[in-house]
């Protein structure tokens, strides 16, 4: 039982990252009908920006001795803002010129920008690994043999909070309504006075901000940063976005957590050598029976909740 609960906690933490990153894929897909393959590397850049902001804050406020949680909140907010600008730049430079080009060209552009971000990072910071600064002291709790840390609670909590905020934004705000409208038809809606050149960058900005938050949380849990850390995580989150149903926000979030659970629990039941083999065979099987994912519908790209 403890064993099971421990793995539930492990899976919740691991799934949070997939979920947060998958949201970015799904949102962009619903608006522009393309998968933004730069997203994994935006996550990586977000983690590095977070590293920079946290390090700078620690130096600047060294004399004030501010509490760690305050620094963490400020770090997350500043990094989210900075990374959202990166998302806007990616949209402006990489995707807007190709908006009417074949989808394949746009997808390739995404991969190219991803490589530019990785190698640019390598060129600027060098190949050495960076250790993410520990902003808050790790406290480990032991609840009848089930161990968890304050960081784990924070990671799952912040992820859920972000998802709720996104949900409220898309559901309640006028901008959210414009996004939903745009996802129905991005060629007709601009005729009603909603500009795609505002909605598309906004979608990228929100997706990138979420990726940045994921990057910082990731840096806290796995404090070794490397320029290629976004590739594998990006691809797996992409799987989550497909599994959730293209364009479905709720689907992406749920599928992200589900992917975390499948990975952790296959490693629990089967020899860990076969973890990804079995985990992704299961997902293949699910997609065979539900080719549009859990919340997806055929021929539909609409942004759904």
């Amino acid at each position: 039982m403890e064993f099971f609960l421990q793995n539930v906690i492990n899976a919740l933490q691991w799934g949070s990252f997939y979920a947060l990153i998958a949201l970015g894929y799904s949102m962009v897909y619903s608006i522009l009908m393309l998968f933004n393959f730069t997203h994994g590397d935006i996550f990586m850049t977000g983690a590095y920006i977070g590293f920079g902001v946290a390090t700078a804050l620690l130096i600047l406020t060294a004399s004030l001795a501010l509490p760690g949680w305050l620094l963490l909140i400020v770090t997350i907010i500043i990094s989210m803002i900075l990374t959202s600008f990166l998302g806007i730049i990616v949209e402006r430079v990489g995707y807007r010129p190709l908006r009417d080009a074949p989808r394949a060209s746009a997808a390739i552009t995404g991969l190219m920008i991803g490589i530019i971000l990785e190698t640019g990072n390598l060129a600027v910071l060098g190949a050495q690994r960076l250790s993410f600064p520990a902003l808050i002291e790790t406290v480990t709790y032991d609840l009848g043999g089930v161990y968890f840390t304050n960081k784990k609670i924070l990671i799952v909590g912040v992820s859920l909070l972000m998802m709720l905020m996104l949900h409220a934004f898309i559901r309640k705000s006028r901008w959210g309504m414009a996004m939903r409208a745009m996802s129905y038809d991005y060629q007709v809606v601009p005729l009603m006075g909603v500009s795609l050149n505002i909605i598309a960058p906004m979608t990228f900005a929100i997706g990138s901000a979420l990726a940045a938050a994921a990057g910082i949380l990731y840096g806290m849990a796995y404090p070794v940063l490397d320029p290629y850390m976004g590739i594998l995580l990006g691809w797996k989150s992409f799987v989550a976005a497909i599994l959730g149903g293209r364009g479905s926000i709720l689907g992406a979030a749920l599928a992200g957590f589900m992917l975390g659970f499948i990975e952790i629990f296959t490693a629990m039941i089967f020899p860990s050598t076969f973890r990804d083999l079995i985990a992704y065979s299961i997902i293949l099987l699910i997609l065979t029976f539900r080719p549009y994912g859990f919340f997806g519908q055929p021929y539909s790209t609409q942004l759904r909740l």
């Binding site: 492990n10 190949a127 161990y147 860990s272």
Partner: protein, 392 residues
């Protein structure tokens, strides 16, 4: 038109001729040594250590006015190629250095993942190669042209197993390793065999794996914790060590975690911090408390680059000195690359009781040195302290 074509062909022929002639001249005048190192990729610190040690060696040669072979002094040139810590890039780098640059000897690649395939290329082209750090037996097996500067995993596995048995008297072991990388996989298997030889079958209670680039080991570590293992053996590289140790502690696994020579990087403690204090690993040399030539090397390296060299630096230094020793012992170089490569290989195979800074070594039939291992403890200041020496 015809004229222009004739002239351009003439120019091309002339250029080609120049190229070959000058190449021939250059080969006579200088010795090229290839360095195949992971400058970028997963373990850049290893690449940096390799490069720095090689530069230090080159400086020493230059100070002496070149490398003395017989009655002639040769200028030495280093060809440094980045293998990005990838097997296929290491193969490409070796092929390029052998075919294009015409190197006499290759030093590297460091990790077994790259050294095993790259060694095949060196052997096929009959070019001597010394991998300073690769401990997997396959690197040199049935390859007369491939040598190494360190002990082997079939030796290192039992070293760790025996050490734990004697030091702690434990009975139940857990192993966590990267199944997609030759070095950890090989070492995990040798350790398992040695441990089961000591404590009987079933004494490795958890044998868990992951794949390269994984960062979350919570599921495997939960299993290890539940298995009742008294310690964990994690023969991983430094970037994973930090993650494994921290996650194990956060999951309430308080037993000792032991490692292998891949822990011996200057980065390990930097990334892992206080979580790694007090842990043990087996390696090639210990910087703290070194004497003689080893001490001299450490001091010079530290003055130049600002940190204590890790085992990769020391082993690369030894590998280069071995190459230098072999080249000198050929007596004279003919200028014919194929002949000289053969001569250097023959001299390497004859090395006996060579005094390296990582210990005395003599090569066996397979091109593997017989040398001692060291158990190092990470002190409470994060330094690598000598704890014990284990000889074959």
């Amino acid at each position: 038109m015809g004229k222009i074509r004739a002239v351009s062909v003439a120019i091309l022929v002339f250029l080609f001729a120049c190229y070959f002639v000058s190449c021939g001249k250059e080969r006579e005048a200088r010795i090229k040594i290839g360095i195949n190192a992971p400058i970028t990729g997963d373990i850049p610190k290893v690449g940096e250590g390799t490069k720095y040690a090689a530069q230090m060696w080159l400086e020493e040669i230059e100070k002496a006015g070149g490398l003395q072979v017989g009655d002639k002094k040769y200028k030495v040139e280093l060809v440094v190629e980045d293998n990005e810590s990838k097997a296929e890039s290491a193969v490409k780098a070796n092929t390029k250095m052998i075919a294009e640059d015409g190197v006499l000897v290759i030093i590297g690649p460091q990790s077994s993942k790259q050294a095993i395939p790259a060694g095949g290329v060196a052997n096929d082209y009959k070019t001597p190669m010394i991998s300073p750090w690769s401990t997997n037996p396959d690197t040199t097996k049935n390859r007369p042209f491939v040598f190494r500067g360190c002990f082997l995993d079939p030796f290192q596995g039992p070293v760790v197993a025996n050490f734990v048995k004697e030091e702690f008297g434990f009975k139940k072991a857990a192993v966590l390793y990267d199944v997609a990388s030759d070095y950890p996989k090989g070492l995990a298997e040798y350790f398992k065999k040695a441990w089961e030889g000591l404590n009987g079958p079933g004494s490795v209670v958890a044998y868990e794996s992951f794949t390269t680039k994984d960062t979350d080991f919570s599921s495997q570590l939960t299993k290890i914790k539940g298995s009742g293992a008294e310690f964990l053996f994690a023969p991983q590289y430094y970037n994973e060590v930090a993650l494994i140790v921290r996650q194990a502690r956060e999951l309430g696994f308080t037993a000792p975690i032991l490692g292998s020579d891949s822990w011996g990087s200057a980065e390990t403690v930097k990334l892992c911090g206080s979580d790694c204090y007090g842990l043990f690993f087996s390696t090639h040399y210990a910087a703290a408390g070194a004497k003689g030539a080893t001490k001299e090397f450490i001091v010079r390296y530290q003055e130049k680059y600002g940190y204590v060299p890790d085992d990769v630096g020391a082993l690369t230094w030894d590998a280069l000195r071995l190459a230098q020793h072999a080249i000198r012992n050929t007596g004279s170089l003919s200028g014919d690359l194929a002949k000289d490569r053969q001569a250097v290989r023959d001299q390497l195979a004859r090395v006996k009781d060579f005094e390296g800074i990582t210990g005395k070594m003599s090569f066996t039939e397979e091109g593997d040195p017989v040398k001692c291992a060291v158990i190092v403890r990470i002190s409470n200041k994060g330094e690598f302290e000598f704890y014990k020496q284990v000889c074959p």
